[in-house]
Amino acid sequence: MLTAGRRLESNVWMQETEAAAVARARAGDGDAFRVLIERNGRGVFRLAYRLTGNEQDAEDVVQETFLRAYQQLEKYDGRASFHTWIYRIAANYAFDLLRVRRRFEHPRGEAGQDMEHVASRDFGADRIVYSGEVQDRLEEAMGKLTEQERTAFVLRHFEGLSIAEIGETLGAGESATKNSIFRAVQKLRRALEPVMGGVR
């Protein structure tokens, strides 16, 4: 175990750790919350962008996420890491945002039809380089996933959350969560088929 002297050294270092920052922020220290923003802000933005597909919405999600986190710090019980907890808040908010957007802005037909459209769209070989084409197809294909498929897929594929954690975030059971991921993967594969020849 550590000596008293080494504990003091450890204290200095620990002041900057996330766990200490959570405890300090819960105790009302605003600067501690800044540490949490600095540690997680960029990651929350990446998640929010992958969920919403545009920068403005992603920035809105980031701000709302940290505001909600600040208001709900007392509810954070430490069962999940702070990283996972705040990502769930972001995913929840983005999920709601997408549902509202879809309802009012993008009435559309069957998801399968949309994906066929994506898969058959002519991207013109001279229009963009290969990586740009992949990015375009992914952007469009992700946009055609349902809110639940997109959220479940992003949380599993990019963030590595467990099926149980994703189900909790979405308010869905294990089976429904897995099916959402299956459908998302199937749709994305179909959308990428035309460019897969460029991948060795």
Partner: protein
């Protein structure tokens, strides 16, 4: 022979199930289907958000600061000094690492309020280390599962630079903690992981076949992925034991 369904292959890709392993070993057709799935999903990794400026976090804080409501301090917090809170943090880290190594510390003789802070932070930290190992496992699996490249072939690294840097930064934090607590097993694994992450962070995005093979050698053959999996599972067990309902049982 009944072949694996796409759902089973997807489960295998995300590590949800290992039941398919035996069939994959024996069936070339399913191995080929799995490689196709890997290629597609690895390509999805290139779906990268636009980069943020280096002062992104500072600007975010500026925007948020004025909108944060005033917090009412809990009664116990108003009685604690900052030094006491910091002591609680350090104690929590030490305990986390001790629990991780399976050495159960005898008693914590801090005042009750400090014990509350330490108990809370202990759960946070166990979860944080477990989550870190999960993320590391996911990243290492990307390399381990990649199709072996042909000679003279260049392979595009699908994992984003930001993700590697994030992981590296967090890894330093936990390694430092493990070293402070003189927990050699954990510190050694994190040290090895850190050297690997550092190499990955400084590599070109397009790697020649021999570099990819060398990486796979370090990750798979040298057993780092295996050890990360095992320790991640151990952490998950400890996490369960530290849940509030179980608190006080075996600490």
């Amino acid at each position: 022979m009944t072949h694996l369904s796409e759902e089973q292959l997807i489960c295998r890709y995300y590590g949800e199930s290992r039941e398919e392993e035996e069939h994959l070993e024996a069936c070339e057709q399913c191995r080929s289907s799995f490689r196709e799935l890997q290629r597609a999903l690895n390509l999805v990794n290139s779906y990268s958000p636009p980069e943020r400026d280096s002062d992104y976090e500072a600007r975010l804080w500026e925007r948020l600061q004025s909108r944060l409501p005033a917090r009412r301090q809990p009664r116990w917090a108003s009685r604690l000094t900052w030094r006491q809170l910091a002591y609680g943090s350090a104690a929590a880290v030490l305990l986390t690492v001790v629990f991780y190594a399976g050495r159960h510390s005898a008693t914590v003789t801090a005042p009750q309020a400090e014990a509350q802070v330490a108990s809370f932070e202990r759960r946070v930290l166990v979860s944080a280390v477990r989550s870190h190992l999960d993320r590391a496992q996911f990243l290492l699996s990307e390399f381990a599962n990649a199709r072996p490249p042909r000679r003279d072939e260049f392979v595009q690294v699908a994992v984003g630079e930001d993700e590697i840097h994030d992981l590296l930064e967090a890894n330093r934090l936990y390694r430092h903690s493990a070293e402070q607590a003189e927990e050699r097993g954990l510190a050694e694994l994190l040290d090895e992981l850190e050297r690997l992450l550092m190499d990955l962070a400084h590599m070109e995005r397009n790697l020649p076949a021999e570099t990819v093979e060398a990486l796979r050698e370090r990750i798979v053959t040298a057993g780092i992925l295996f050890r990360v999996r095992i320790l991640g599972a151990e952490m998950r067990e400890r996490e369960k034991r530290l849940e509030p309902a179980a608190a006080g049982e075996s600490l």
